[in-house]
Symmetry: C2
Subunit: 203 residues, 2 copies
């Protein structure tokens, strides 16, 4: 198995679940927030900081971080350092073979890879809010719509900052699925069959 | 079989072929330019005119048509009259059951239909130009890129004019496929299996 599947996703569209189940059914590794821990394990950054800045750009955290000793010695915002470290890890993982990577601009980082399948998942706002509400996040229900929209905004900003491209614009992806209409089960099945069919054809 | 599949497509992305083969494999009717003939058969408009204005908006043809006797008695641009007549026909066809409809804002016209699957096909410009060149259209090869871009522009204008929406924007579709990466064969297979699976689940 060779296919590297990257999944970009609107918040609440089921990207994590679809990616996880797809990886499981294909028997290949799944990387999501785990990548954050992999950067943390290298020392330098505490995992707690990294989680706070996961898929956010420097502008939000630099003022806070600039006062700390772990601000880059090269005067590079810490978010950039983490991004480039994470990008190196993503490239290494892709060299190891097939996997599913959710978020983190992996579609852009790996775009030269010939076995790449770039997926983007999206959905109606009300469905995405409902999915997150059902997950019992520690957020007031009335704020969930705001939380969903804000998270999308942060992801869009992060993606634009590191790729110069528009997050979710179809030309950056090979396949875009509306999970308000194509269910999680259908999405997993569809992607699994596409990948298995490609592997057979590509040999 | 109940599913109505609408296909929006960038020029040269293989939309006609994918739609035709999908309809054939599912054993359901396929409507593309045929809809134009169906409007023509009702009398009033000559097929030649209709073909010229197919998926174009009034602004381009009204000055020419305004001098002719078949300009709407209600002072409505003929392109609008044709659009609304075509929309009626599309709604009737959808009532008859499963089918594939390419273009003509069918995704918008039928959006209240609960068995709708709205597909958008796109691809890299160079691949779309190459596909059209291979089809031996009567266009100078050097002009093909311009022709492809112009046709896309006309489709976008037509779609915006009649739907108020952005042509090709993912939120207007359930599934978007990049045929530069997902081949015509793969696209047909993927869509066929998705539809067959839905029909089984929906009962």
């Amino acid at each position: 198995m060779k296919t590297i599947i990257t999944i970009g996703r609107e918040f609440g569209s089921g990207g994590h679940e679809i990616g996880f189940r797809l990886a499981e059914e294909l028997g290949i590794p799944f990387y999501d927030k785990l990548l954050v821990s992999m950067v943390a394990e290298e020392g330098e950054f505490a995992e707690k900081y990294l989680e706070e800045m996961d898929e956010k750009v420097g502008i939000h955290i630099a003022p806070f971080l600039a006062t700390r000793s772990n601000y880059s010695v090269y005067n590079q915002p810490i978010s950039d350092k983490v991004f480039f470290r994470q990008a190196e890890i993503i490239r290494k993982l892709a060299e190891d073979g097939a996997c599913v990577i959710v978020g983190r601009c992996a579609d852009y980082i790996l775009e030269k890879n010939e076995n790449l399948l770039r997926v983007f998942l999206y959905g109606d706002l009300k469905d995405r809010v409902a999915r997150k509400e059902a997950m019992n996040l520690e957020i007031e229900e009335s704020d969930m719509t705001k939380h969903v929209l804000n998270t999308d905004k942060k992801r869009a900003r992060y993606y634009r900052h590191y790729t110069g491209r528009i997050w979710g614009a179809r030309e950056n992806y090979d396949l875009c699925l509306n999970t308000s209409v194509i269910s999680i089960e259908e999405s997993v099945k569809l992607l699994r069959e596409l990948v298995l069919n490609r592997e057979k054809t590509l040999g």
